[in-house]
């Protein structure tokens, strides 16, 4: 029998479960994701730094975990070099797994990375609590509820924690893309490398304006964009050059900030594979319609993968900008573009991994611009 442990929430609710990961208490913000596949990708997504993840799909661990190889800081299967979540909460754990490319179980992997895991929790009930309370702090404890204090990750600059510490280079293509690493998912790098580019991956606070480049790419990342004032300043400077800029997730928020907008914390963060977004902008970037992607604005919709708790307040966006995508469920902003300059960004994840690949064409759009 596995060790009986508990998940303690800041509102006093306690869920009992069993340990299947590393045995040490942990605290963080509890978030849920409704994706039905992709736990290796989710767990290594740096945007989850500081968070304890609960997966609403009840059966987890089914296909084990693949053996990873990391070459020049680029992982073969994962989204970063390590597990980024602070803890994992699930309903039903598959001790045994079955997949041709698996080399270990989810539990073994969690132990390796010193991340606790709890199974046997009514994750639907937990999700309903998180949904109603908005953000919810919690902790996984082993012996007593007081063995660790609650922790609020929004107070910390998590981007600084997960960003690379030095400049890294990838590819040998003819165009140069500077990638600002706010906690970049490796699939963004993989997607870019499919084109004729060379990537310079720089830390979040690096002044890339000193570098020669053809296009700027701002990555996803964890937490509150307020912490990234340095990055916003650098982007603002880059905008003056008029060179193409693209952003994803945190990148959307930072570009919007550079464009004068403010951001706010969502009541219900978007963490799933089934977020519907539709094209809002009727002009510019998507007018060509050549790839059959956009025909009539407003009627063109995509299913997207998302993972964010903050959003751009579109009312605060400057005159020269417009909203590019909008969320069809709650009407929140899903992307912006500049009316005249080649700057655009998406709040969702066109690189997927994990999630649907409907919007991968955005990389084409970026590459065409540079």
């Amino acid at each position: 029998m596995d060790k009986k442990i508990a998940l303690v929430l800041e509102n006093g609710v306690i869920f009992e479960g069993f340990s299947f990961g590393y045995e040490a208490p942990v605290a963080g913000e509890i978030v849920f994701n409704t994706a039905m596949v992709g736990y290796p990708e989710s767990l290594t997504d740096p945007s989850y730094a500081g968070q304890i993840l609960t997966v609403t799909y009840p059966l987890v661990g089914n296909y084990g975990v693949p053996e990873d190889t990391i070459v020049n800081g680029l992982s073969g299967f994962y989204e970063s070099e390590k597990i980024q979540v602070s803890g994992l909460i699930i309903s039903e754990y598959s001790y045994q797994y079955s997949h041709w490319n698996a080399c270990k179980s989810l539990g073994e992997w969690l132990k390796e990375h010193k991340v606790p895991g709890v199974y046997g929790v009514d994750t639907r009930e937990l999700t309903k609590l998180i949904r109603e309370k908005g953000s919810l702090k919690g902790k996984i404890v082993f012996d007593s509820p007081d063995e660790i204090d609650f922790y609020d990750p929004s107070e910390e600059n998590l981007v600084a924690k997960v960003s690379c510490k030095e400049v890294l280079y990838y590819g040998t293509g003819s165009k140069t893309v500077v990638l600002v690493d706010c906690g970049v998912k490796h699939n963004i790098i993989r997607c870019l490398l499919q084109y004729d580019v060379r990537i310079i991956r720089v830390p979040w606070d690096y002044d890339f304006n000193t570098l020669p480049y053809d296009g700027l790419f701002i990555s996803n990342g964890p937490g509150d964009p307020e912490h990234c004032a340095i990055t916003v300043r650098n982007i603002r400077k880059a905008m003056e050059t008029g060179k193409p800029i693209c952003g994803i997730c945190m990148g959307n928020q930072l570009l919007a900030k550079a464009g004068g907008a403010s951001t706010y914390k969502l009541k219900y963060g978007h963490r799933s594979h089934n977020q519907p977004v539709k094209v809002k902008s009727a002009t510019g970037l998507f007018e060509d319609g050549k790839n059959g992607e956009i025909r009539e604005a407003g009627e063109r919709c995509f299913i997207t993968s998302q993972n964010h708790g903050y959003a751009v307040d579109i009312k605060t966006l400057g005159e020269e900008w417009e909203e590019l995508f909008v969320n069809m469920n709650d009407g929140t902003n899903e992307g912006i573009r500049h009316r005249t300059k080649p700057f655009f960004s998406a709040q969702f994840h066109p690189e997927a991994a994990s999630g649907p690949t409907d919007t991968k064409f955005l990389f084409d759009k970026f590459i065409k611009l540079i």
Binding site: M1, F15, F32, T34, M36, V37, G38, P40, E41, T56, Y57, P58, L59, N62, Y63, P66, S91, E92, S94, Q96, Y97, S98, H99, W100, D122, R124, E125, T127, K128, R131, Y268, S272, H273, N274, P276, K278, K280, G292, R295, E296, E299, R300, C301, I303, I314, K315, L317, E322, E323, V326, M328, N329, G331, A352, A353, S354, G355, P356, T357, D358
Partner: protein
């Protein structure tokens, strides 16, 4: 810039194609293997979607027992065959603006393609809504399909035709071993086989070239995973995949024969989304507007795949996906056909978010097929690439162990889950694992018990290890429970674990006490103990988005893998629970769904909350729009009690869902559950043969003599008394059918030896069998023993054909007034004596005016929708009102005032059941039925026979007319055929008889005779277009000439009649009526 406000623009009021004012929808006709209740559900949803738009709807569907053919579902309903001839006639009359082809299965699709090709749509300016016909053709024609997918670099399963061994070798090299070799143009798979390498290929190819000059080399995908996606596209090219599903059984077993789970369980993110992306690429390229299903073969050791097929229509899988996710695919597809974009429609569960989204599940569902192969003589139990199952169940839960065990109980074939069942006799476990039958899942259980490793089972079955690991968990848990001998000693943790793994209380009790009787006694004590430990199931909602947003959903299931209920109970006793009918099977299908839905409708109309419990994904009753609460869960005593304790209802209705709910009456009553309508004691008095019989004796009502006997000597002496033939019903069946008619001592002896095992413990019931008697049925509703309304109907066939297979005429056309009077009198007496409140059905035998009662069911019967619709008086509505305790007036309407006739005819699926003898007997074999209305008897007979797939012969008819009696039955018909210019071919006896009666015929020889013209040859060469073959005696012999003729007729798709009275009725119908003159009248035109 404005802040987006998308919610107020979700539903435009007008259809973008506002020219569409009237739409024709084609139904799928009678239920058959491969085309069942799912199309009643899809069609009903589509009609609802059209109605919402104010569009006038016209429906053609002869399946009178369906919900979609109920009053108010469509504006005009035609009970006519779904064939190009009749559909064109209806189009000519109704002049619809648009037509929907994808909601009535393959039947509607094929009919639509025919009409398109013959220019009928163009001629009458009918627009095909949704997917264009060319897209349908592109998916149906194998060559076009492969070419089409080649255009977008999507891999399909291809075969390469070769004419030499060298070419075979290079073909295999290019495809990659293993390969399948098929000899082209060779029947029955002669010369085909698997090859793992070049040597095997050489050996096999050499042999195969003996059969055929051409071989087809195909990559073998045996053992690959089978994965399906349900994809939706609107005319603006927006696409979503609503659900994916994974087959438990690997490739090689038809998906309709497979256990299936949703969502997929063994695919990684990369794999899941690779196939999703392909599915969207395919649907866009083919140009579907609406819904389609993409089936893949997926490698188990790489990300290689092949597309198996694309169904450009609603399908069984789409119905399953709708129920699995709560996303109403058919409803949405119909709206998309009208020109809506997905973003303009709303999510019908949340009612606030958009329909352009992909459901996130926070549970797992498991579909298990239901077979009834035991009902057929001579059919093989092996399952494979063709479908044989007649129904399915869907279990919902939060672990695989939970859903598979729930599902195995739901198929209700005496199994209690994966373990703790009656032991199967499996002589060769290895073989039974590698050559799958309908029992394979239980063979796996047995193999685990015998110590097989899951690796070994995987080797033999190719079932993914993940599924086997989970099955092993169940097995191991059972082993832990077995170590205890009493309820008290069973540790709390283990009990909880067992419940989380889907064990029923009975299973646990059986494992503790190792005895079935003791388990039945103790299961309620276990329940008490469980409740005292607070080990209870929780109720969870299906909300399409895994609790991400709040949703008002009434779609529920129960699970032990959770700690909190999603639902708050009012406890106001204003809800009424209706128990549904479970899996469709032979003898219980869509008709009980109609009854359940009508009971729910009435309950809600009369101001109560209607609650449904059912688990059949093919039904309308499990559409969460049909009730105030839907529990998609088991119909076992344990689960019904769980729900009753939560709901605290005013009462339960058991009498509209067929036999499964009826069987729960006594045990629920014992627990004090309020059962509405006839009391459980009365139900028992009718169901218990002895009690019922002595009641009839008391009332002075006659019945065929019968006795329950437990030794061969007793049987012999009883037969001496009543004489042959006798009907024999064993209480324990070894193999084959459960019931049989024996005409002589030899047959009796053979049946008793082969099929059963007579003993004190397993007695048989032997009844006198009355030949050439009419069979009459009464469907009725009574209140406190007083008959409120009744419908008397008459079988065309004589007694001996199961009432579910018989052709029924209503109102009766050939009954004596005195017979009717006596039947009414007996009906009243029985209703009075049993104090019936609610629906009931009695079956009678009548010979001259001598009436005997065969059986009485205190519940709605199979024919309730038929008589209700023909009479235009809803028997279930009045029965429900009676059960609610309302005062009702007796209707003034009588069947004897009707100016038209209804005929209910049975649909058989013998073509799907290789080797089965297509003969009718005392055990039911039909899979569905139709009901047609005509101004006279022959018109109704003709329409109904054409509706079940019979065709009017053009020229030649083959007759082997059986016994003297049936020869006489067919004499008039034969004369009529001759007069109409038909040429009759007859086997020797029939030829002689016809000659004696001055009817010319051509003598043909029996299959066993090596002489020409031979009956088999005539059928094979399609020289005859109708076969009448009446079996000589009532025991089916597999190797007789008759069997071979009948089977050939089925295999070569020649209409076949095996009952002389029905054959005679059909012959008269098409000889007297000209098809051209058959009136095309909708239901409401019969007044």
């Amino acid at each position: 810039m404005q802040h987006p406000s998308i919610f107020n623009k979700l539903i435009p009021n007008v259809v973008s194609q506002s020219s569409i004012k009237k739409v024709l929808l084609l139904g799928s006709g009678a239920l058959k293997i491969g085309e069942a209740g799912e199309f009643d559900y899809s069609g009903s949803q589509a009609l609802k979607a059209l109605k919402e738009e104010g569009i006038i709807t016209v429906l053609i569907n002869p399946n009178i027992a369906t919900v979609q053919t109920s009053e108010g579902v469509a504006d005009k309903i035609y009970f006519l065959p779904v064939t190009p001839f009749f559909v064109e006639k209806v189009i000519e009359k109704e002049r619809p603006d648009g037509i929907l082809l994808s909601f009535g299965g393959q039947t509607a699709l094929n009919c639509g393609v025919d009409l398109y090709r013959s220019g009928v749509f163009e001629k009458y300016h009918v627009k095909v809504l949704g997917t264009p016909v060319q897209s349908i053709i592109d998916t149906e024609d194998r060559e076009l399909f492969v070419r089409k997918l080649d255009e977008i670099d999507v891999k399909t399963i291809k075969s390469i035709a070769v004419e030499s061994i060298d070419a075979a070798n290079s073909a295999a090299e290019s495809l990659g071993f293993p390969v399948i070799v098929r000899a082209a143009y060779a029947l029955g798979g002669l010369g085909s086989g698997f090859c793992n390498d070049g040597d095997e290929l050489k050996a096999l190819a050499e042999k195969a070239f003996n059969y055929s000059g051409q071989l087809l080399i195909e990559k073998s995908l045996k053992g690959w995973k089978e994965i399906e996606y349900e994809v939706v596209r609107d005319q603006y090219d927006n696409c979503i995949t609503v659900c994916n599903m994974e087959n438990f059984d690997p490739l090689g077993i038809h998906t309709g024969e497979s256990i299936v789970v949703a969502p997929s369980q063994t695919l990684t993110n990369q794999e899941y989304h690779k196939l999703r992306e392909l599915a969207i690429r395919i649907i866009r390229h083919i140009g579907i507007v609406g819904e389609c299903n993409v089936q893949y073969a997926f490698d188990t050791v790489s990300e290689d795949y092949r597309v198996i097929e694309v169904n450009a229509r609603l399908s069984r899988s789409s119905a399953l996906a709708s129920k699995a996710t709560g996303y109403p695919l058919a409803f949405v597809a119909a709206k998309l056909g009208l020109g809506y974009g997905l973003n303009e429609l709303k999510n019908s569960v949340t009612k606030s978010t958009t329909a352009f989204f992909e459901p996130a599940l926070d549970y797992i569902v498991c579909k298990i097929p239901r077979w009834d192969l035991g009902k057929f003589h001579g059919v093989s139990h092996e399952i494979g690439s063709s479908m044989k199952s007649v129904g399915e169940v869907m279990a919902i839960g939060r672990s695989f162990e939970e859903v598979i065990q729930k599902g195995l109980r739901m198929i209700s074939q005496g199994m209690h889950g994966f373990v703790a069942n009656k032991e199967l006799e499996v002589p060769d476990v290895d073989k039974a694992l590698s050559e799958p039958t309908d029992k394979r899942i239980f063979v796996i259980s047995q193999a685990l018990a015998q110590g097989y490793t899951i690796e070994r089972i995987h080797e033999l079955t190719k079932i993914d290890l993940w599924f086997l690991q989970k099955l092993q968990n169940i097995h191991l848990c059972a082993g832990k429970i077995e170590q205890y001998q009493s309820i008290e000693s069973l540790p709390e943790n283990l009990l909880r674990e067992a419940k989380q793994k889907g064990f029923s209380d009975y299973q646990i009790a059986k494992l503790l006490f190792k005895d079935t009787n003791k388990a039945s006694e103790e299961k309620l004590n276990l329940r008490k103990r469980r409740k005292s430990l607070n080990i209870l199931p929780v109720v969870k909602q299906i909300d399409t988005l895994a609790a991400e947003y709040p949703a008002q959903t009434n779609y529920l299931y129960l699970t032990y893998n959770g700690t909190a209920n999603d639902v708050h109970y009012l406890g106001d006793k204003r809800s009424i629970i209706v128990l549904g009918s479970g899996a469709y099977r032979i003898g219980s299908s869509v008709e009980f769904d109609w009854c359940s839905v009508n009971a729910l409708n009435t309950i809600r109309e009369r101001g109560w909350r209607g609650v449904m419990i059912n688990y059949n994904p093919e039904t309308v009753s499990t559409d969460y729009d049909m009730c105030d609460r839907l529990y998609f869960d088991e119909l076992t005593h344990e689960r019904v009690m769980d729900i009753v304790e939560l709901e605290n209802p005013h009462g339960l209705i058991l009498s509209t869902g067929g036999q499964i709910p009826n069987n729960l009456a006594l045990s629920l009553d014992k627990e004090g559950v309020p059962i509405l309508g006839t009391t459980a004691a009365s139900i028992d008095n009718a169901e218990d043969r002895h009690k019922f019989s002595s009641m009839l004796d008391r009332l002075g009502i006659d019945q065929p003599r019968w006795k329950e006997l437990s030794s061969l000597e007793d049987i012999d002496s009883f037969v001496d008394e009543v004489g042959f033939p006798v009907l024999v019903r064993p209480s324990y069946v070894l193999s084959g059918a459960a019931m049989n008619v024996c005409s002589n001592a030899a047959e009796l002896e053979q049946f008793l030896k082969l099929a059963t095992n007579v003993s004190q413990k397993h007695p048989v019931v032997v009844s006198e069998f009355i030949e050439n008697a009419k069979e009459i049925e009464v469907d009725a509703v009574a209140k406190k023993g007083d008959v409120i309304t009744y419908a008397i109907s008459e079988h065309i066939e004589f007694a001996g054909v199961h009432s579910g297979d018989a052709t029924i005429q209503f109102p009766p056309q050939k009954l004596y007034v005195e017979t009717v009077r006596r039947i009414k009198r007996i009906t009243r007496a029985i209703a009075e004596s049993l104090q019936i409140t609610g629906p009931f059905n009695i079956q009678f035998l009548a010979k001259d005016n001598d009436i005997k009662v065969i059986e009485c069911n205190l519940r709605a019967s199979r024919s309730f929708p038929f008589v209700s619709k023909v009479l235009k008086f809803n028997f279930i509505e009045i029965a429900t009102r009676v059960m609610l305790g309302e005062e009702v007036e007796k209707p003034s309407k009588s069947e004897f005032d009707l100016d038209y006739v209804g005929i209910k005819a049975s649909q058989f699926s013998f073509s799907r059941l290789q080797k089965a003898d297509p003969v009718l007997g005392v055990d039911m074999a039909s899979t569905g039925e139709v009901g047609c209305i005509g101004d006279d008897y022959y018109e109704a007979v003709l329409k109904s026979m054409l509706s079940v797939g019979m065709r009017i012969p053009k020229k030649n008819i083959l007759i082997s007319s059986g016994t003297v009696r049936s020869k006489l039955d067919l004499l008039d018909a034969s004369r009529l055929l001759h007069e109409k210019g038909y040429i009759i071919y007859a086997t020797s006896g029939s030829h002689k008889f016809l000659s004696e009666n001055n009817i010319p015929s051509i003598l043909v020889y029996q299959p066993s005779e090596d002489l020409k013209p031979n009956a088999l040859e005539l059928i094979r060469d399609k020289q005859v277009d109708l076969v009448v073959n009446i079996p000589k005696n009532l025991t089916p012999g597999e190797l007789t000439n008759g069997y071979r003729i009948r089977r050939a007729a089925i295999d070569f798709n020649v209409p076949l009649f095996t009952n002389s009275r029905l054959a005679s009725a059909f012959v008269h119908a098409f000889c007297i009526m000209d098809l051209k003159n058959v009136p095309i009248k909708s239901w409401d035109e019969y007044k």
